[in-house]
Structures are given as C-alpha cells and as structure tokens.
Amino acid sequence: MDNNNMILQTIKVSKYFGGLKALDSVDLFIRKGEIFGLIGPNGAGKTTFFNLLTGHYQPSQGEIVFKNKEIKGLKPYEITALGIARTFQNIRLFNEMTVLENVLIGMHCQTKTGLWGSILRSPAATSEEKMAREKCKELLAFVGLDGKSEEKARNLAYGEQRRLEIARALATQPQLLLLDEPAAGMNPQETNNLMDLIYRIRDKGDTILLIEHDMKLVMGISERVAVLDYGQKISEGTPREVQKDERVIKAYLGEEI
C-alpha cells in the first residue's frame, strides 16, 4: 500500500484489562481525507480503540503509526500536538467557561504564550491572544455557534454542546479527527446538520474516524466501515459490503435459530 496516502495504521493492537481482552489484534488503516466509520455492538471496544489512539490508554500489544510515526507511549497532549483530536462519547466540555473560551483551549498547541508573557502582557502575547480569538470565532461560525460565544458552555442545548466539542477539537488543527458517537441523542434534523458539518470538515482536508450507532448516518457518510465485536475486527469494507457480511449480521442480530 502507498504509505503517503495513509494517515493512520494500527498493527495488531491489543488492550487487556486484567483477563478481559477489550481489543484483540486489531489491524486498521485509514487513508488521508476519508471518512471512516467504526461500528459494533455496545462493549465491542470502539471507545477503547479511541482511547488508545489518543494516548489516554496505552496498548498492551501492537503498534499505532500516525503519519509514519510510532505514537505508542506518547502522552495525550503530545498526540494532540501531532494532529489527532477527539470528541467524547459523554460530552466533556469545560462547563464553567464560555463557549469561546472552550475553543480557545483547543488552540493551546497553536499558541505559545508562557507564564512570563502573560504576566508582562507582552505585545507578542496580546497579538497572539487576539489572533486566537479571531480564529475561534471563525470556528464557531463554521459549526454554527456564532452568537453564542459568550454563553457558558453548560447552558447550551445538547446538540449545540456536541457541535461545540467538534469546534474545540477542530481548534487543535487536527489532521485526524475522532468523533465518538457525535449523533447520540440528536433528533433527525440535528443529525442531518451534523452530516453536513462532517462533510464540510472533510472538504477542508481533514480525515475523520467516526464511531456511531446511528446506522443511517454512519452508512450514509462513511467511505469505508470497520466492525468490532468482542474486541476483534470482524469485518471491513464499503458500507454496502459490510451490511451484507454474515458475521456482521450475526453480531448485531444473533444467529438464526
């Protein structure tokens, strides 16, 4: 396979919690610029897989290669700086901060002001702050949250909080964006808006890895899909191929009697 075209590859990645094999030898590769869906029944190991990619967990075995660089052993903040950003399944915003400040935090790696810069309020710090705020406003407009920038994050509606999480992740300027069930709890209208937003993010040049239970969304939007069940990858391919796969049907619906 062409290495230049590949942004992320996992090689026999496993994660054990004691005797439980949460993930078992998962091989996966994701191409630059594609929308990749990761599905599977509850407890299949999808979020664990995300946590391995972002460094929140360390793999028990295997390798994770991002942009031709082994990222196993790196801390989450280092991985974010390299260009992987995520949203969380159970929304994890900085609730007491304003919407704009939440996105500003996402800009952390893109900005440099340190302790002395902020105490002395150096010209560099001031102009950087201004630049960052402008950028954040653009991002908020991009996800459709302009006009809400001074509200506290906790006061946003559910769907807005999901979009704020995406804006915050985008602020880190990721090349690979991991979305963990972004449509959970959304109504059909919100889900449609989300689909549109995901397309627009992809068109900006980002690669998207998506965990989702909403089959209409994930099958409609993904170019390729992988299916996890009990920590193992049981199928991979285009949405059409995966939907026909016997093992997938079995995992979701059980065996015929």
Partner: protein, 291 residues
Amino acid sequence: MLSSYHVQIIILSGINVIMAASLNLITGYTGQLSIGHAAFMSIGAYASGLATLLLGFPFYLSLFIGALVASAFGVLLGLPTLKLKGDYLAIVTLGFCEIVRIVILNMDITGGAVGLRGLPKETDLLTVVVCVIITLLVLTRILHSRVGHALIAIREDETAAEGMGINTTYYKVIAFGVGAFFAGLGGGLFSHFFRYIHPNSFDFMRSIEQLCMVVLGGLGNLWGSVVGAVALTAIPELLRASADYRQLFYGALLIIMMRVRPEGLLGTRSEGFGIKSKFFRYSGWKKKGEA
C-alpha cells in the same frame, strides 16, 4: 489618623489577602485541593528572615528570596505528587505542611523550638499594600491568559484538557510554583512584621484558616479571596472576647458555607467546583435530581 492597632489589622488583612489569593490559584482555579498552604508561608517567612538576619540582605531582597525559596519548594512538592488527585493530593499537602513544621522545629539555624527572633520591623502599611496590588495584578494577568485558561481547563475536566493538548502536569506545577511564590511573599511580610516567628505559627490550623478565607469568598473568584481574607481577619478582632472559640468558628463556617452557599460569597458556580464533594462524601447533600 489610623491608630497603630488599626494599621496592624490592615497589614494582617493584606498578608491574608496574599495568602488567600495565592491559595485560590491552586485550589479555586486549578482545582487542586491543598490544605498545606501555610507550609509555603512558613518557608518564605524563615527564608526571608534568615536572609535578613544571617546574610544581612536588605528587606526587599529578603522578601524576594523568601518568595523564591517557597516557590522552589512548591515546584519540588509539585513534581512527584501532582499525579495524585483530590483527597490524595490533599493528604500529601497536609503531610508536607507537618513535615515542614517539624523540620524547622528541629533545625538549629531556624532557632528550633525557640523560634527566630530579633528580626527588624520592616513591614509597613505601604509595603503590604504594594505587595497586595502586585499579587492581585500578576494573578489576574495569569488567569486571563493562555496559561490561566489551561489551569481552569484542568479544574473543569482534566481528561478533556489533556485531550486538547494541555500538559496537565506542567501546568499544575506552575500553579503550585506561582501559588507558593506569593505564599512565601506573605510569609516574608509576616516575619518582618512580628519580628518573631515560631514553627507553630504555620501549622495545620493556619492552612485551614486560609482555606476558609478562599471558600468564604468564593473558590475561583479572586475578589472573593480579598473579601474572605479581610472578613476573616477583621471579624475575630471584633470578637476578641471569644477568641478561644475562633477555631470552632472556622470549622462551623466551613460546614455552613458548604451547606448553604458552596460557591462562596462572590462565587457564581453552584457546586463550588466539586470541592464540596471532595470534602464531604455524604450523599444526603447531593442536590435533588442528582443520581
């Protein structure tokens, strides 16, 4: 004009404002529960006192040295312990406070149990006011910057903060380093005001007193710390007759504040940033509708 008694109360209030504001940076803004803040005050008081007495440094240089030494200990304490969270960190800070007290109590250079005596009286009203202004100005600037946002993000959600590219350990060490610096400054002002310091002046109860000021004013509210520190310095003076009950008063105040107004007098957040649950694991206090 102000009588010397009033000046003394104002100076003490000022020192306590510095202590409360610096503790607020660590506990209120960064969310790291510290119940050993007096240790940094103690280190600053002794370091600056010794710089004046033994090395003959001028007052302002001594003050700065005291703050710097305290800051170094803040970083030193920070590095190995900041992987700890909540209760565990609180216990370590408590232990640190006791260790500092006992070490100073048993050292010759510090005067041991006799205390450190014969310091010149250098701390005056103007110095304290200037120090308070510098403290508040520096803390405000930090808090409104990229660094401050990172600190607050750690308090709000450490996992998410890390996921956004924040090196949480580094920023927690910064919080402790800066907090300890100003606590050391407060200690230096303290020692050069009373001219005599004893290890027991900086015991666990002083740490709790400082925490009370922060909680009363509002966790995560700098002006709250000013109000809390001034109130808790002035009120006991008004109630001199019942001074024996002061510590009882602090305990009761903490409990009442947590129960009635966990966000503090000037705070805005209803849950007091979860500090309430860090202190009291009593489910009966959870709000209605909470799981």
